[in-house]
């Protein structure tokens, strides 16, 4: 298996980076780092795809002219263009997701003054408890009155 992994070293590296990104996305407490993890994860998939389109010894998918000035459109000259197209789309996708997630993070920080989503939950429950206690005290006063 290891020998095969050496052959597919781009893919293997991509998969390892995917794992790093995924664990960042799931485990990091800090939202900014989570989003960096998301980006790492997505980029690794693009690396994977780009590696899948590569064919050794071939040219980039830009049509070239031969000596006589004719366009060479022989499929055995160029690498596979499909993954490039997919990755182009994918890069914009991850940019959009990043921008949106960052905007959400800023709003969260504005409300809770923390970049940690669990801490935000904790703060929220504490606030609610305080609110309930206040209500309870008020209603007790009502009873006394």
């Amino acid at each position: 298996m290891f020998a095969k992994l050496v052959v597919n070293h781009y893919e293997a590296a991509a998969v390892i980076i995917f794992g790093i990104g995924l664990s960042n996305l799931l485990l990091q407490r800090n939202l900014i780092k989570k989003i960096i993890g998301l980006n790492i994860m997505n980029t690794s998939v693009y690396l994977f795809l780009a590696a899948k389109g590569y064919i050794s010894g071939r040219a980039a998918p830009l049509l070239i002219q031969d000596a006589a000035g004719n366009w060479i459109n022989d499929a055995s000259v160029y690498v596979n263009p499909v993954p490039s197209g997919l990755v182009l789309t994918g890069i914009v996708v991850s940019l959009s997701v990043t921008a949106f997630a960052l905007a959400l993070t800023l709003r969260l920080y504005e409300s809770y003054a923390t970049l940690n989503i669990d801490e935000a939950l904790l703060k929220m429950t504490r606030e609610q408890e305080a609110l309930e206690e206040n209500l309870l005290q008020e209603s007790d006063e009502d009873v006394l009155l």
Partner: protein, 314 residues
């Protein structure tokens, strides 16, 4: 036996309803005149201070330890899942077709047609451009719509909400720097950047690049201008409304062009668009106008992101 059943039932009932445990010998008082309404408030307070049912004990315990427990369990699970996924993927990768080989399943008739007849069918020298803007134009349309979605959402989150509360004039010029060197450099470099952007966009079907990268370069020019002269001066010719209208109308033209080519293509109608000769600027049919629209959208949206994230009104 019946009593046992009743006790089991009662426990279950308490568990379901979360009432306080009730004394066993309590009589049912049927049909007293309905003066006392059933109020939940008293009930919850009783149960809160006197007797705790299983569920309440559980929830109390959860309040104290729950978050820690949850995050520990969650982390453990996540680590496990990540490790499993990576190992699985590594094993998978080892079994995948070989890297760089010609005989991979991915190198099939699809790719052959893109290369063999891509030049004639789309008129683009850059096969990738031809592919994403003609063969698979719907994907790219979805992508620009996605960018639009993100822009609209960020606008909602960062601009619209605070316009009522935090819109003060001094904020508008807070970050504009009165730096003459910067302005001089900007005066020199901005035209160059814009020119570069235009070249990248207009050559999208000939060379690497195209709407996305060109749009990013254009937005860099705008950002530079905003930093050098302040957002206020950028806004003199680019108010928020104009901005939105620019993005929307560029996207609209883009969508309509796409729709035209989809509609004619699917129904085998005449499209009235010539492909031109490969290698010319004015070739490749719709790809050039599409790239221009795309670059306008991207430049506008990226500048919008920048402005919103630096707490300015676009």
């Amino acid at each position: 036996m019946n009593e046992d059943l009743r006790i089991i039932w009662r426990n279950f009932f308490n568990w379901v309803m979360g009432n306080g445990a009730r004394p066993e010998n309590e009589e049912i008082i049927p049909e007293a005149p309905p003066d006392l309404p059933f109020t939940q408030k008293q009930e919850s307070r009783n149960s809160r201070f006197h007797e705790l049912t299983l569920r309440e004990r559980y929830s109390h315990w959860l309040e104290i330890h729950g978050l820690h427990l949850f995050s520990n369990v969650y982390s453990g699970m996540s680590v496990l899942i990540c490790v499993v996924i990576v190992l699985l993927l590594l094993v998978t990768v080892a079994e995948l077709p070989k890297f760089g080989s010609e005989n991979n399943p991915a190198n099939n008739e699809v790719m052959e047609r893109y290369i063999n007849s891509g030049g004639e069918e789309t008129g683009a020298k850059n096969i990738v451009s031809g592919m994403i803007l003609d063969y698979r134009a719907f994907d790219t349309f979805g992508e620009s719509a996605l960018l639009f979605t993100a822009a609209v959402s960020v606008l909602m989150l960062l601009a619209v909400s605070r316009r009522d509360s935090k819109n003060s004039p001094e904020r508008l010029h807070k970050f504009s720097q009165d730096d003459s060197i910067l302005r001089g450099v900007a005066l020199l470099s901005i035209p160059v950047i814009v020119l570069l952007g235009c070249v990248v966009i207009l050559n999208g079907h000939l060379k690497p690049g195209g709407g996305f990268s060109g749009g990013a370069i254009l937005s860099a020019a705008l950002i530079f201008a905003a930093n050098a002269y302040g957002f206020g001066s950028v806004h003199k010719f680019f108010s928020e409304r104009k901005f939105v209208i620019m993005i929307s109308s560029a996207l609209m033209i883009y969508a309509l062009l796409n729709a035209w080519s989809f509609f004619t293509g699917a129904n085998d109608f005449e499209a009235y668009i010539s492909k031109g000769a490969i290698g010319n600027i004015f070739s490749a049919g719709l790809i050039l106008p599409l790239n221009i629209c795309l670059s306008l959208i991207v430049a506008g949206i990226l500048y919008g992101f920048y402005a919103l994230f630096s707490e300015e009104e676009i």
